[in-house]
C-alpha cells in the first residue's frame, strides 16, 4: 500500500513533475511488448539523478513495495510489466553518455541511454558497439543489459553480455555495489556483473554501465542466397559454420515470410523461393573478399538456385531492408503477432525448422519463420487474433510444442527475449528443480522482501 505520506515524500524527492499518480498516466506503464495482460502500478516515478534513484530503491524496500524498472518498455517476455499496485521506475531521465574512451576502448553510460543513439555516438568516433537488438531505435542500454539482448550480429560479435565490462548498481537498501572495471582483465571479487547481466531487474537496479567498444571493421559484403528447398537452405547454415567461416550475420527467411515481405514492401524478393539466406561478412578487405567467395561457392554447392551479391552500399542496404521488414510484414497479416525465440545449437537448425513446420500444420496455425539462423536463434512468428479463443488455445499449445522441441534438440527457451513471466513456468523443464531453488535462494538472500521485479524468471 502506498500511503499519502509516502506519495508526498516521493514528490519532495523527485519533484512533482516526476511522480505520476493519475490513473490514466499509470495505465500507460501497465504493459510492454509481450502479448500478456497488463497490470496497473500504483505509482510511476522518474528519477533524474543517481542519488535520487538510490533513494527511490531504499524507500521502496523500506515500504516493501514491488519495484519494476522500465526503459522503453519493448520487452517481449513481460519483464517490464509491473506488479499490480507496485512501483514503476523510469530510466528515461537518466540518459547521459558519461564517457567514450578512445584510448582504452570503453564507454560509461547511464541506464536510460537509447541503444541506437549510443551506437551512433560511438560510430562517430570510428568505434563499434555491435549488439543491435531489433528495437534498438528505442530500447535502452539498461534494458539491454538486464535482458542480455542479442541482435543480428550475435554470430560473430556475441551479445550484450560480451560487452559489459562493469556495472554500478543499487542493492535493495539503495547502497551502491560495484562490479567489474574499466580494464580488459579483472578478477577482483565475485563476477557480480555476470550475475546481474540478464537478471531482468530482479537482483539490483543499474546506475552506471561500462561497455566495451571495438574498432569498426573496415570492410563488409552482403549477399542473398535463394533456395528452392528449405532443407537445403538450413543445411547450408550448418555447413558454413562447419567450414569455419563466421559471418557477421547469417539470417534465414521462410517462404511465408518472403511472400509477406514482398507484399508489404515490393523489395523484389523471389516469390518462388522456398527459403532465403541473407549473409554478411566483414573484416579486413582481403579477408572479406576471400570469405565472401567461399560462402558463395558453399551456397552453390549446397544447392542455392541463385545468389545475389551486393556490389555497393545501396545494394547492401536493399538486402538488409528485406530482413528489417520481416517482422513488420508479418505483423500486418493478422491482429496478434506472437514472436518466439526458442534457440537450438546451430547444427540443429535443419531439424528445428522442420519441427516448426510440423507444429504449424499440427495445430493448423499460420507461422512465419525468420531469424538469426547462424546462431541457432530462429523467430517462429505465430500470426493470430487473440480474440479468437479457440485459436488462441491452439497457439498456446503450439508454443509449448516449440519449447519442447527446442529443448529436446539441446536448445534453450529464449535466445534473446528473456524469460520474464511469459516463460517462467517452463524454466524448470530446461534446467532442473535444483536450479530454480538455487536461483530462488540467491534472490531471497539479496532481496529478502522480494521487491525487485517480483515474479520474473523464477516465479514467486
Amino acid at each position: 500500500m502506498i500511503t499519502k505520506a509516502l506519495v508526498r515524500e516521493f514528490e519532495r524527492l523527485l519533484g512533482k513533475e516526476n511522480v505520476f499518480e493519475d490513473e490514466t498516466d499509470r495505465a500507460t506503464y501497465s504493459y510492454d511488448a509481450a502479448v500478456l495482460e497488463p497490470a496497473l502500478p500504483a505509482i510511476v516515478l522518474r528519477p533524474t539523478s543517481s542519488e535520487i534513484l538510490g533513494r527511490v530503491v531504499a524507500l521502496c524496500n523500506d515500504n516493501a513495495l514491488p519495484l519494476t524498472v522500465r526503459g522503453a518498455g519493448t520487452n517481449l517476455s513481460g519483464g517490464t510489466i509491473p506488479r499490480a499496485g507496485g512501483v514503476v521506475v523510469l530510466t528515461n531521465a537518466l540518459n547521459r553518455i558519461l564517457e567514450i574512451n578512445e584510448e582504452d576502448l570503453y564507454a560509461v553510460v547511464e541506464p536510460g541511454v537509447v541503444t541506437a543513439k549510443f551506437a551512433a555516438a560511438v560510430e562517430a568516433r570510428g568505434l563499434f558497439y555491435p549488439p543491435d537488438p531489433g528495437s534498438q531505435a528505442v530500447s535502452t542500454l539498461g534494458g539491454n543489459v538486464a535482458e542480455n539482448a542479442g541482435g543480428l550480429r550475435g554470430l560473430r560479435y556475441g551479445v550484450t553480455r560480451d560487452y559489459v565490462m562493469g556495472l554500478e548498481f543499487f542493492d535493495v537498501n539503495g547502497e551502491r555495489v560495484k562490479a567489474g572495471a574499466r580494464t580488459v582483465k579483472c578478477v577482483s571479487g565475485y563476477n557480480l556483473g555476470g550475475l546481474l547481466v540478464g537478471s531482468e531487474g530482479t537482483l539490483g537496479v543499474f546506475d552506471k554501465i561500462i561497455l566495451k567498444l571495438i574498432p569498426m571493421p573496415p570492410a563488409r559484403k552482403a549477399m542473398m542466397a535463394i533456395f528452392s528447398d528449405i532443407n537445403k537452405a538450413s543445411e547450408t547454415v550448418s555447413s558454413i559454420i562447419a567450414n569455419r567461416i563466421v559471418p557477421v550475420t547469417l539470417e534465414f527467411m521462410d517462404s511465408f515470410t518472403i511472400r509477406a515481405v514482398e507484399d508489404f514492401s515490393g523489395a523484389g524478393l523471389p516469390l518462388d523461393a522456398a527459403a532465403l539466406l541473407l549473409i554478411e561478412v566483414d573484416g579486413h578487405p582481403v579477408q572479406v573478399e576471400e570469405d565472401a567467395a567461399k560462402v558463395e561457392s558453399l551456397c552453390r554447392n549446397m544447392g542455392a538456385v541463385r545468389i545475389r551479391v551486393a556490389r555497393d552500399a545501396a545494394e547492401r542496404d536493399k538486402v538488409w531492408e528485406a530482413r528489417r521488414a520481416a517482422l513488420s510484414a508479418l505483423s500486418r497479416v493478422k491482429p496478434t503477432t506472437v514472436l518466439e525465440d526458442a534457440t537450438v545449437p546451430r547444427s540443429q537448425i535443419p531439424a528445428m525448422i522442420r519441427s516448426i513446420e510440423d507444429i504449424g500444420r499440427q495445430y493448423n496455425l499460420t507461422i512465419g519463420t525468420f531469424g538469426h539462423a547462424g546462431d541457432g536463434n530462429l523467430h517462429p512468428t505465430i500470426l493470430t487474433d487473440k480474440r479468437n479463443h479457440e485459436e488462441w488455445e491452439r497457439v498456446e499449445k503450439a508454443i509449448d510444442a516449440i519449447f519442447d522441441r527446442a529443448l529436446a534438440l539441446g536448445g534453450t527457451l529464449s535466445g534473446e527475449h528473456g524469460i520474464g513471466t511469459a516463460k517462467s513456468r517452463f524454466l524448470e523443464k530446461e534446467t532442473s528443480k535444483a536450479t530454480i531453488l538455487y536461483s530462488r535462494r540467491i534472490k531471497a538472500a539479496l532481496d529478502p522482501k522480494n521487491i525487485l521485479n517480483p515474479g520474473k524468471i523464477i516465479g514467486d
Binding site: T24, A27, T28, A33, G73, T74, S328, T337, D385
Partner: protein, 432 residues
Amino acid sequence: MADMKRLAGLVKELEDQLVACMRCGMCQAVCPVYAETGREADVARGKLALLDGLAREMFKDPRGVNERLMRCLLCGSCSANCPSGVRVLDIFVKARAILTGYMGLNPLKKVVFRGMLARPEFFDSLMEWGSKLQGIFIKPVDDLLGASCGRMLSPLGDRRIKALAPTAFHRSVKPMSTRPGASGLKVAFFVGCVIDKVFPDVGKAVIRALEHHGVGVHLPEEFACCGIPALSSGDSQAFSTMVRHNLEHFADERFDFLVTACATCTSTIRKLWPIMAEELSPEAREQVARIGARTLDISQFLVDKVGVLPVDFAGDEPEILITYHDPCHLKKSLGVASQPRALLRANPRYRFREMVEADRCCGMGGSFNLQHYDISEGIGKRKRENIVQSGCEVVATSCPACMLQMTDMLSKAGDRVQVKHAIEIYAESLSP
C-alpha cells in the same frame, strides 16, 4: 455507469484498428512530443493503450483519456514509422470526435468552430476588422521575417506572430474560372484560411505559376475552412458543415485537379474528408471521394502533371542558399517530398542544401501550439537549430502553419533567415 458503457461501445467500434497495435513501442523513436516530455501517455502506443482501456471500461473518467489524446500534433510521424501499419491518425481523429461528442465541446471552441469557421462570410469580415485593429495589440519587431509580438500583457505570451495581412487574398484576387491554356489542364484552387488571411502572397504566387503554365483556374467566390481545426478538436458537426459548404463551391465545377498550397488542407481533403464523411448524404460522400482523389499539393501538380523540371546550372553558381522543411502532412501523410525540392531547384538564383532532420515536425500542430506552447516551442527550437546549422539564408516549406512556427522560432532567436513557401521561390523565377 450506463453512459460509460455507451462510450465504451463507441470506442469499441475502433477496436479492429486498435488491435493492430502490438505495443512494440517503435513510435517512441519518432514522436516529437514524446521527445520533449518522455511520457508514455504522449506517444501513440500510450494513447492507443488508453483507448483500448476505455473500450474495456477500465476507466471511470474519460476526461483523463481525452486530455492526453489532445496532447498530440497529429503529425503522423508514428503512423509513417509504425511496423504494423496502425492507422494512428484515423483512430485519433475518430476517437476525438467520439469523446468530444460524449463530453461536449469546450464552449470557446464551440464559438470558434460553429460560430466562426463554419460561417465563412462572417469569419472573413471578422478577420478584416481584426487586420485593421491588430495594431492595438501587436507591434512589428522583425522586418526580415515580418514578425510581430504582443504589446504589454497579451494572451499571445512571448510568441512572435505573423500579423494578419492588411488585405486578404480573397479581397485582392477576384474569383475566376479560366479555360485551360497550353497545359490543357484546369485546376480548382483551394486557398485555405492561413494563406488567405496571413500569407496572401503565397496564394498570388500559386495563381501566377498556374497562369504561366497555361493552366485554367477555378477560384470560387467563397470557400470555407478545410475543417481540420474542428476535426482535431473532435467537433464533427462543425466539420461536416464546413465540408458541405466547400462542396457547394467546388463539386459542380469541372476541373482536373484540386490544388492547394497548404500541406494540411491537402491531406485533410485527401485523407480525412473521406473517412469522416459519415454524416453527409450519399451524394456528398461520393463528391468527397471524387474530389479527395484528385487533390494535389501545388508542387506535386506542377512537377508531376505540368512537368516543371529543376534547372541545370551552366556558368554562374547561384548565390542564395536555400533549405527545405518537410511539412508532416505532406511527407508523412502523402509521401510528397521530392516535388517541392524540384520546384526550388527550378529557380536558378537559389542553391539547395538539405538540412539535418528536414522531415522532423516543426511542432506547430495547429491548435496544439495554442494549448501546449511550451512543448510546441521545445520542438520548434530543434527545427530552428537545424535550419541555422544548414547555413542557409532562406528556409522554404509547403505549409503556411509551418511557416508561422518557423517564423516564431527564428525571429525569437534573432536569426536572419527568411521563411518562404516553395511556390513563392518558384514564382520569383517566372517572367511577369
